[in-house]
Subunit: 183 residues, 2 copies
Amino acid sequence: MALSLELITRTARSLLIQYGLQDVSMRRLAKELDVAPGALYYHVPSKQELLRTVAHEILTPLRTESGDALQLMLRFRELVLPLRDVGDLLLLAYALDASLPPAQLLPERLVTAGWPRDEARDTTAVVMRFALGAVATEQNQALLERPATATATATGQAPDAPQAMEAERIYLHGLQRLLIRPV
Amino acid sequence: MALSLELITRTARSLLIQYGLQDVSMRRLAKELDVAPGALYYHVPSKQELLRTVAHEILTPLRTESGDALQLMLRFRELVLPLRDVGDLLLLAYALDASLPPAQLLPERLVTAGWPRDEARDTTAVVMRFALGAVATEQNQALLERPATATATATGQAPDAPQAMEAERIYLHGLQRLLIRPV
DNA sequence: ACCTGAACACCGTTCAAGT
DNA sequence: ACCTGAACACCGTTCAAGT
């Protein structure tokens, strides 16, 4: 009872953060909310639409980010990386609408930095594709290396330094190459 | 009867080409082969492993490609794009091993073109992430725009020109930016 | 208006038992 | 060695019927 769109998306989001995308099912969500699975469909048209909404919400903090294009994209990675296996979801959400938060803001930042409008638009598309591919790759690798660590990272601090650092270096390298203003 | 690893992967691949990744399930595969679902697991350890093998096979034609890095990556897109919604699969296959056919060959091509070894290695990682992100985005968009066209494209020729051309332009643009040798 | 119960048409994987 | 039958533990979605 007391079900609502807002409650559903909030619960979906917390499931996503705690257990990863693979554990976000409509039935699991319904169980969490103590409700029959069908009840969700009174408030939400489909799972895909629900996840698109959640993806949007997760990325909204970027809208208040004030740095330049590079800083924006670094913040994007930081925001998304902790959400295990959410990369595929973002790929889908971006395909659904290309104005997903970082993409929405990039062109103006580039124009501010002196880019021509057309170049800024194309570069945004390129950078987004790279960033989504990079994050998805990185998350998939993390998921496949330590397969079922389940819940808490009880390993204290500084857990998976080597690959994460390598991945960060590659990410930064790609961004720098793409965000250098062409002559 | 007469089941084998080779027959299974071949059938999986033909299902993938005909109906897309969403229609490749172990049960569907078993039905196609006139066999109980469990029988597949005598030859294959898991669905994930099966799909990784299929992804590898699809990309092996690239190994005999003789062009430079840019031509190699253009061929990659051509090869993969007709297989609807296979982008996510490739992202996973690449995460499982980073020597997936185009990645395997890129470093030497770059070195041949005068790149330093270290730069070539990093650039390969960057280009792969971009290409995988780009293809996945493009396929997701195609899948979401005309949702259930099902089987044959009965629309004759020259079907979806506008977005496909835009996507190709962005892909090329990104590659050119990444494959220019830095000073 | 909002929700339940029950169904429909599926999944991946395991495993005793058969041949 | 290779496969079947049957089960386990799930899916997303729909929809009559209840309140």
